[in-house]
């Protein structure tokens, strides 16, 4: 792996963001609107729900963390879609870039895009709704890492689909996280789900991450087993997604789709 090639791909997306104010606005706009919306919902539930009584901000904290996951995954997908939309896709694959360098560059760039979007929203949550993610304590770092890895993992699965099936897979890019959201138990405990769905939900790291958020904010208890379970599952899914991405790349070379992917 060569750093200069990873940096080149990062630079391509940095120039894109730097040169377009509407693009920066777009990155910030949706997370901010989400936080404001969930801020008011959270406030309502805090005042009227027995479960959430006196625990201001659980829903909003979950909403911010979910948005962090959503932005990381979408950012990863968007970086790849940008290449397809701009018909630059083939240029990347005739450049001396290794697949691993593409993955690393997109992962790093997606983090920057995610932070541009989510940091203003996090900063707004405190003065407007009195909610701070830092209430989660040092565990916050591990939770964010877990969410980011899972976001990138989902991104890799979607991008593999784009490589394998072409731009027609684009709609899945937008809907992938909505499919997992009900099973992720973001705003409610896993016990709400029917037994058979609980079995399925427990295979997702999201369940452990958001159980942990509730455990810390509701009971002030840090349950490291949740964090470890999430990290182990994340590691497994990340490896699987990297394997799927390499397979999709080799399959695309066999099918000859790398030469004419475009809108």
């Amino acid at each position: 792996m060569r750093f200069y090639r990873v940096y080149a791909l990062f630079l391509r997306h940095f120039y894109l963001i730097k040169g377009s104010f509407p693009r920066v606005l777009d990155l910030i706009y949706w997370p901010t609107i989400q936080i404001i919306l969930w801020g008011f919902i959270s406030k309502f539930f805090t005042m009227h729900s027995e479960f959430y009584n006196h625990t201001a901000g659980i829903i909003l904290s979950a909403a911010i963390l979910y948005d962090f996951l959503f932005r990381s995954s979408i950012s990863f997908n968007m970086l790849f879609l940008e290449e397809i939309w701009s018909r630059n896709f083939t240029n990347l694959f005739i450049a001396p870039l290794k697949v691993s360098e593409i993955v690393v560059a997109l992962t790093a760039t997606a983090l920057i895009r995610t932070l541009i979007g989510i940091v203003p929203a996090i900063l707004l949550a405190s003065p407007f709704f009195g909610v701070s993610l830092f209430d989660l304590g040092p565990s916050l770092i591990l939770l964010l890492i877990s969410l980011y890895i899972f976001g990138i993992t989902l991104g890799l699965f979607v991008v593999s689909g784009l490589l394998r099936y072409g731009p027609s897979f684009e709609n899945v890019a937008w809907s992938s996280l909505f499919l997992l959201a009900p099973l992720g138990c973001i705003y409610y405990p896993i016990s709400i789900l029917p037994d058979w769905l609980q079995v399925l939900a427990k295979t997702l790291p999201l369940v452990y991450i958001f159980e942990e958020v509730r455990s810390i904010l509701l009971n002030n208890v840090v349950n490291y087993s949740n964090i470890v379970s999430a990290l182990i599952l994340n590691f497994f899914y990340l490896l699987l997604s990297v394997y799927v991405f390499y397979s999709a790349f080799h399959e695309a070379r066999k099918k000859g789709t790398l030469i004419n992917v475009g809108e």
Partner: protein, 246 residues
């Protein structure tokens, strides 16, 4: 002894039931400019795709400087570049930004000088801060060429390099390609439907039909061999075969 830079051995590509390229063989010497001719769907793009490592051959191999493309893809691509009218550079980036990005990707030394030198060569300096998407077709074509020259490639693959350009700009582009080839002893493979362009730029041509190379040689020799007036006539004879319409 002349140095072989591209060697294709029994190269085939099968897509499901279609054999797009049928066991082709050829060698290209260093410094040669070769034209790859043939009707649409004859296997030119698939051949170029395999040369670039974008398409995995079903059988056979591509050797660049004696090294197999399948096993040395990243290293070999460092010395190659490609342009096609079907591929564009990011539209929202300026010319200079695009060249800096690709220069870094190819590990170009003294990048700032190289970018300026390339822009000067293609008369792009005055547009350097303009977004690529805002340029005319001719200017975009020159930017694509600049991107193709940025790593000073030993092998340049050009797919329809002057498609959709007016005769003036097309002539300018051909002159640049000629200069690039002659001054630096570069190897160029051009897939084109413009026979005048091929006659002007290429030392030899290879004619493809139905996935096979049906004839190859110097333009004048092929014209003479087939009893034709010019290269276009030769092309029509090969493509139409027995059903030739005159």
């Amino acid at each position: 002894m002349e140095e072989v830079i591209i060697e294709i051995n029994n190269l085939s590509k099968k897509y499901k039931d279609t054999l797009a390229v049928k066991s082709i063989n050829f060698k290209i010497q260093k410094g040669q400019t070769i034209g790859l001719l043939g009707p649409n769907g004859c296997g030119k793009s698939t051949t170029i795709g395999m040369l670039l490592g974008l398409i995995k051959p079903t059988s056979g191999n591509v050797l660049i400087n004696g090294k197999d493309m399948e096993n040395h893809r990243t290293n070999l691509l460092q010395k190659m570049n490609f342009i096609s009218p079907y591929i564009e550079l990011p539209k929202r980036l300026t010319i200079e930004e695009n060249l800096k990005v690709y220069g870094r990707m190819y590990g170009v030394k003294n990048l700032v000088n190289k970018v300026n030198e390339t822009m000067e060569m293609l008369n792009l300096i005055k547009f350097k801060n303009k977004k690529t998407g805002e340029l005319s077709s001719g200017q975009k074509n020159r930017v694509s060429l600049a991107k193709a020259f940025i790593n000073d490639p030993e092998i340049l693959l050009l797919d329809e390099p002057t498609a959709s350009l007016d005769p003036d700009v097309a002539d300018y582009v051909r002159t640049i390609i000629e200069n690039f080839s002659s001054k630096n002893e570069k190897t160029i493979l051009i897939a084109s439907h413009n026979m005048n362009e091929v006659e002007r730029l290429c030392d030899e041509v290879m004619m493809m039909k139905n996935g096979e190379i049906v004839d190859k040689g110097k333009s004048l020799d092929l014209i003479k061999k087939h009893g034709r007036k010019n290269l276009e006539d030769f092309f029509l004879k090969i493509v139409r075969g027995q059903n030739e319409i005159l």
